[in-house]
């Protein structure tokens, strides 16, 4: 496999280049071992189409999403303004994120704080690349496989992006299966609202177990997700039901990158 080409904004600037798009990796995509694979899949796609992109590298910092959802508005705005200062310093115009939470926050909550960018989620970018003919997708190892897609709340309900991930999955010649609770009725994986970082309150079930149970009821080969936190939750859920051998949890970017040996 070819080594990844991941230029930083600082390097681009030093070379006098202006990238077309900034890839906002996010905390999970930078630090979480599982999520790093998603990050690399996105980069493999970007490299494959020779996209003129860059990352912020060590200059990136948490968008402040979990702080804001947990009620810490001060911390959120500190993070937001720090990031906006960096982004505006590089004159960034367009951003693709690897995480729906970063996507939502930068797209919707940064503008009033002085950060106005065109923000897309990586599934939207992949959809665009396919539609523009820059990315040819084959089913590869996923041809004919049963794939169930779990809507991330902050991509779907929060921002009404339902079709991009589905259109991309359908290019794989796979059988895309819908759960009863999908699209606007999608059921949370249990991570949102800063729940990722704390124990759940007392109840009779974990949210991720409830959701994974629903996904597994379709006996899918793959549970496709578009969010590193959903990925963690659904992966844990699959382990809970001892189904790791029959059902994989993969990001839409991984499906495309793996199917096409990128």
């Amino acid at each position: 496999m070819e080594p990844l080409k991941v230029p930083t904004m600082a390097e681009k600037m030093a070379n006098g280049e202006i990238p077309d798009i900034l890839f906002w990796v996010g905390c999970a995509g930078s630090f979480d071992d599982r999520a790093k694979k998603i990050t690399k899949a996105i980069v493999r796609i970007l490299n494959h189409v020779n996209a003129n992109f860059a990352v912020l590298g060590v200059e990136e910092s948490c968008t402040g999403d979990p702080a804001k959802r947990a009620g810490n508005e001060f911390l959120f705005q500190m993070q937001a303004m720090q990031n906006i200062t960096v982004l505006n310093g590089y004159n960034v115009k367009k951003i693709v994120t690897g995480c729906p939470h970063c996507f939502n926050t930068i797209k919707n909550e940064y503008p009033q704080l002085g950060g106005q960018y065109e923000v897309i989620h990586h599934t939207e970018l992949i959809q665009q690349l396919i539609n523009e003919g820059k990315l040819k997708v084959q089913g590869g190892e996923f041809k004919g496989k049963k794939i169930v897609f779990h809507d991330p709340c902050y991509l779907g309900r929060a921002n009404d992006v339902y079709e991009a991930p589905r259109e991309v999955i359908q290019k794989l010649d796979a059988e895309l299966v819908e759960m009863k609770r999908s699209r606007a009725k999608g059921f949370c994986c249990g991570a949102g609202g800063a729940q990722m970082f704390k124990e759940a309150e007392k109840g009779n079930k974990e949210v991720n177990v409830e959701r994974t149970e629903e996904a597994l009821s379709h006996q899918p080969d793959v549970i496709a997700v578009g969010c590193p936190f959903c990925n963690t939750m659904m992966t844990d859920g699959v382990k809970h039901f001892n189904k790791e051998n029959s059902t994989k949890v993969l990001d839409v970017a991984e499906l495309i990158a793996n199917a096409n040996d990128l």
Binding site: N72, F74, Q112, R157, A158, K198
Partner: protein
Amino acid sequence: MISIIIFGLLITLGSTLFFINAKKIRRNILLGKDIEIKDNKAERIKTMVLIALGQKKMFARPIPAILHLFLYAAFIITQIELIEIVFDGFTGHHRAFRASLGGFYTFMISLIEILSVLAFIGTLAFLYRRNLLKVPRLTMNELNGWPKLDANIILLMEFTLICFIFMMNGADEVLYQRGDSHAQNLGDTSFGFTISQYVGPLIYNGMPTPGLHVIERIGWWGHIVMVFAFLNYLPKSKHLHILLAFPNTYFSNLKNKGQFNNLFEVTDVVKPNFDPSYQPVLDPNAPIKFGVKDATDLTWKNLLDAYSCTECGRCTASCPQNITGKKLSPRKIMMDTRDRIEEIGRNMDANKGTFVDDGKSLLGDYISSEEVWACNTCNACVDACPVNIDPLNIIVGLRQQLVLEQSIAPNELNGMFSNIENNGAPWQFSPSDRANWINEN
């Protein structure tokens, strides 16, 4: 003559009482913090027409949606008949419009009768769903006591109202056939209303004429008394949604659901750190309260939401935390909010218009921090609400209060906060390692 006086008194008293109660509710709603919602008028009207008038979101659950539509359509159309009832009541006429409107009159009353039959089925089905079928979202513990009784009272009132309509029309039909109705005889042998021309004779044929006059009058008076009883019951009841659904959908959040408001009180303090030219707007010496402790810290839109809630529980039935047995219920958040602002309102009424501290607050006495922290902020409740109520906005306000004012977040969240503050990530990784993934295999 006496009946005209009694009728006049009924109308005056019923309207005045309603006006007084409506004013109180308006006062209570305006106890909330001011926000300006004046943008996108055209889109707001469209939203109101689709969601409130058109009941678009109800149809996510087709069976209750159709039953509800029966009641809703009957309610709207029946109001037209009130025009005649009021006219007759004040002038002593009987079916004053029949002669002049002719076929249209027959059509309108027939339509009302058909819708009333559907509404009759609807109320029975709703009573069945609540009390015998015990639909889960309609029988949860948070509805014990008044909310359950309230729901049944409304249905029984509607049921009674429909019975009055058929007593009135049915008895009058038989009287008309006998040539004894007080309505002007147009030379025909029946009013020709779709339902009562058959049902009337079926029930009342054997009864003597004087008795039928009494039944007809009970139906007529019962109808108008019920309408005013209903009007004055509304302000005390969850049923207020029939009126407030309209303004509430008009003032809907039109932004992406994922967009939470940025608190300006915070921006005003934080911004100078990044933009030295920024001049703070707020007086630094004025006390600032962050988040929502009591119902009066909410916005008027939050409070309008609470008064618009009809406790249907679609929010709670879609809440991932509630479904998995946690204490959080978005419906309860709305019910608590209304209960608390009502309590504050009563407190003000008892103390000449000023609130006397009662040592209570929405957060703590009504809504526990356990409920507040359970939320996934997933917006399922917001999506599910048929009248665009936003419980999530209140929950986030309560979280802001807990974190920014009371500093009592769960420990793990405090850890997450300090990680973000120190490392720029919610976990304990060094920011200098952020790009390590690039060179890892």
